[in-house]
Amino acid sequence: MTDIKIKIIDREGVLHEVDAPTDMNMNLMEVVRSYELAPEGTIGICGGMAMCASCQCYVNSDTDLPEKSDDEEAMLSEAFFVKDNSRLGCQIRITEDIEGLEVELAPEEA
């Protein structure tokens, strides 16, 4: 079992450095939920199907992430507060390759 370190800036601007397990088939949105870094019901609303943008985050590190799928691309094209470094947390799998990832949660949609 191996954990990796991830830095997450929550919606209040507070930085959290957390351990994320690579062996539990988790994604970044689930890590945020497991540490309760955003209130339940404000993140991961669709459950991780790339069908809402409640887990949108901005990637601040130059970590090499897998390409966006068509679904993620399409959802981000309809989301608000989107920047060039926007990703959906639910589409980022926790693997050893993303050790040191640093992200910032996008604001909650009104």
Partner: protein, 352 residues
């Protein structure tokens, strides 16, 4: 006034299954849902996606699950108030409740079961200055009556099925149809995409992609919007009568949050040691909308919660009646419509 035994708020899988369990206890149900079709998220968000953890179904599509539940509860003749959002609750002196929707429909019941999932689905609104000012003055988030747009200049924003389908439909109704989307690619059924392409070639739909509406202008009524092309940065003023942003729906707990119920983590706190009742006796919360220690937002957990809720509701409605749970295999199912389903009787016959 609609009268029933258990008023269920939310017609998702948990709310639908509650009708079945209530029916076994000869209790009638009526459901309210903000969406225009039953099924909740299963119908609205992911009807074509498979679910693998419904006991007894190795794989079932969310839409199929809803169809099956509707079939299962049919004998118990549930009533539906669809396309209306439960807005207000009043407790009467006799301990019963009246729930009023946003359209003023009133429902009276001794028991209210909130099976509201993540809340009611509200249109996602783009972030634009003066958006609220022009609501109903040129801006709408849903198309209720397409005739409103006859011979009007309409601008639709969005890249999903509803943006495509309404652009196609309004192309033959409105004077001008503009479609604005942030990308060149659309996410929709292939034939809708092709149809829009065809109408664009015919000049019946004017397409702005990749582009975004960045400004709204007008005195009282909306008069024009500014569309910014994302690739060139060029800004174009488009004179229109109507702007329809179609960015899908997102759930909001909404007015239920103000019903005096204890809320924690955007969910309603219930007594999970007994019957999923809230802090207000007679109001229950079941399925994804509730929370308690160890809560899991799973359809199968919602089914269990609905079942226990119905037993408690029965005792509340009939405090002096004795009752024990019966297996459907033993008792069969007698619908309010007179239909009877029961296990075939074993043959008792001597063999010579």
């Amino acid at each position: 006034m609609i009268k029933t035994d258990i008023l269920i708020i939310g017609a998702g899988p948990t709310g639908l299954f509650a009708v079945f369990e209530a029916g076994l206890l000869k209790l009638r149900c009526h459901l309210i849902d903000a969406l225009t079709q039953p099924g909740g998220q299963c119908s609205e968000i992911y009807p074509k996606k498979p679910i693998y953890d419904i006991p007894g179904f190795p794989e079932v599509l969310a839409g199929e699950l809803v169809d099956n539940l509707m079939e299962q509860i049919k004998p118990f003749q549930p009533g539906f108030t669809l396309g209306e959002r439960a807005e207000k609750i009043d407790k009467l002196d006799d301990g019963t409740f009246v729930v009023t929707t946003n359209k003023g429909t009133k429902h009276h019941a001794p028991v209210v079961a909130i099976a509201g999932g993540l809340g009611s689905f509200e249109p996602r609104k783009p972030i634009l200055t003066d958006l609220v000012k022009f609501e109903d003055k040129g801006i709408a988030y849903m198309i209720k009556d397409p005739e409103v747009y006859r011979n009007k200049r309409v601008l639709i924003a969005g890249g999903g099925d509803s943006a495509l389908d309404w652009s196609i439909f309004l192309a033959n109704v409105a004077e001008e149809v503009y479609l604005v989307h942030r990308r060149n690619e659309f996410r929709g059924a292939l034939d809708s995409v092709e149809k829009v392409q065809e109408l664009k070639n015919l000049g019946k739909i004017k397409l702005f992609t990749p582009a975004e509406v960045i400004e709204l202008n007008g005195r009282e009524q909306l008069e024009n919007v500014v569309v910014k092309m994302s690739d060139t940065g060029k800004e174009i003023t488009v004179y229109i009568d109507n702007f329809i942003p179609l960015f899908g729906l997102s759930p909001k707990l909404g007015p239920i949050a103000d019903w005096g119920l204890e809320i924690e983590k955007n969910a309603i706190k219930v007594d999970n040691t007994l019957d999923y009742q809230t802090n207000v006796p007679g109001i229950y919360a079941i399925g994804d909308v509730n929370t308690y220690p160890g809560k899991l937002k799973l359809i199968l957990c919602g089914f269990h919660e609905a079942t226990l809720m119905c037993q408690s509701a029965y005792q509340r409605i009939h405090p002096n009646k004795k009752y024990v749970m019966k297996y459907t295999t033993v008792g069969g199912i007698t619908g309010f419509d007179g239909s009877v389903k029961e296990a075939p009787k074993a043959v008792v016959k001597a063999i010579d």
